[in-house]
């Protein structure tokens, strides 16, 4: 690998790895808490339908509000949010590093990608 390129790659890899590790830890914690809190999940064949039903609460703000109560679903959702933000963080961090190392064209590309993703999210949220 071209030594001039190596440090940005290493930094981006570290961001991805940290994001994945943190996200996985939160999701596993959430799943563990859920099954500990609900022993019937191990034996009941009825409750799965309720969990998959459209009426089940899934509003992210509501679920995240359950974090202080230690509810498993809240930690699962937090972990998924960390996971989803990880590629975005990688783009931002590598863009900043490209700029600092003088690769301005690539820094602009990274900035453009981040802007398009944000715009996609806003338009997707607005269009619901």
């Amino acid at each position: 690998m071209n030594p001039a390129h190596g440090s940005t790659e290493a930094l981006a890899a570290r961001v991805l790895r940290m994001g994945v590790v943190l996200a996985t830890a939160l999701v596993l914690l959430g799943m563990t808490l859920t099954f500990l809190r609900h022993p019937e999940y191990r034996s009941s064949t009825v409750v799965l339908g309720e969990l998959l039903a459209s009426a089940t609460e899934r509003d992210p703000l509501v679920l995240l509000g359950w974090l202080p109560q230690g509810r498993g679903q809240a930690f699962v959702l937090l972990g998924l949010i960390v996971l989803v933000l990880t590629p975005f963080a990688r783009v931002v961090v590598s863009g900043v590093h490209f700029a600092r190392s003088g690769s301005l064209r690539l820094a602009l590309c990274a900035g453009g990608v981040a802007a398009v993703i944000l715009l996609s999210f806003v338009l997707g949220r607005v269009s619901e």
């Binding site: 790659e9 991805l16 994945v20 799943m31 099954f35 799965l48 899934r58 972990g79 996971l83 490209f98």
Partner: protein, 275 residues
């Protein structure tokens, strides 16, 4: 079925999805969605949201190792992601305006064509390395040959490649399908990026566009923790295994596997469009 058994089944199938995805530079949706909908009767909207999570997990978990080793080309990925993200946004905005039926058929035809081009390029004798030229963008990278030795490669026709990636992203945004299956051939055939680096770079790229979709699904309350949690963990573990294997398996094997997946998806797309 109990929630525990459901979680185990989803986890194991997601491990396979992550393994396949990171080996071939694809998202895990091609496995996750059929398993969830056809196998387990999960609502298609929950399955699509879980699939987006799977793609992000495949990308982030499967790409950090090849990124660190240099096999995944971060500079090329950053350049092409602009086209992919813009294409996906364009496709999503056009959705509902363009009749999807013929788009499925067209996508299937494009998939079949890309598979044929990939096959022809595999059988063609290796072309001499192009003369060194001044590149306005230094997108060159490092790959591994069959003996595991590192070698540098230039990236040819970057702007044509950007256009192809934009179209691939557009299909993905229009049809809600993963575009990795088009991105890999675009890099390998059009830009002459070595196969191993094409799949590794595609694995890196797909997470960015999937993350935008996944964020919208979360915001809309379309992500069911009981579904998405085992998908995320399973794909992470499977993609880790895939990224370790990718550098060790011969290129002909993963390319053959890729062609099988492309052929299957091409048939499914054409059938969906014509049915």
């Amino acid at each position: 079925m109990t929630p525990l058994l459901f979680t185990l089944v989803v986890f194991l199938s997601s491990c396979f999805a992550g393994l396949l995805g990171s080996l071939l530079g694809l998202g895990g949706g091609v496995v996750v969605i059929p398993v969830l909908t056809l196998g387990l009767g999960v609502d298609i909207r929950l399955a699509i949201a879980a699939s987006a999570i799977a793609v992000v997990a495949t990308s982030s978990s499967g790409a950090w190792r090849p990124l660190r080793s240099g096999l995944a080309n971060l500079r090329l990925a950053t350049f092409l992601e602009l086209g992919a993200a813009a294409g996906a946004l364009s496709g999503a905005l056009l959705g509902g305006v363009v009749a999807s039926r013929w788009l499925y058929v067209l996508f299937g035809a494009v998939l079949a064509l890309s598979g044929v081009l990939l096959l022809l390029r595999s059988k063609a004798p290796a072309a001499p390395a192009p003369p060194a030229s001044r590149e306005s963008l230094d997108l060159s990278g490092t790959s591994l040959d069959e003996q595991g030795r590192a070698f540098e490669y230039p990236v040819l026709r970057p702007w044509q490649g950007l256009g192809l990636i934009y179209l691939a992203g557009g299909f993905g945004g229009l049809l809600g399908v993963g575009a990795g299956v088009l991105k890999v051939p675009a890099m390998d055939v059009a830009m002459r990026v070595p196969w191993r680096s094409s799949t590794a770079t595609s694995t890196l790229m797909i997470g960015v566009t999937a993350a935008a979709s996944a964020a919208v699904f979360i915001a809309r309350g379309q992500v069911a923790p009981i579904v998405a949690a085992p998908v995320a963990v399973g794909v992470v573990l499977g993609a880790q295994a895939g990224s370790r294997l990718a550098g060790r398996l011969p290129a002909w094997f993963t390319k053959s596997l890729f062609l099988v997946v492309v052929a299957w998806m091409a048939v499914q797309m054409v059938r969906r469009g014509l049915s």
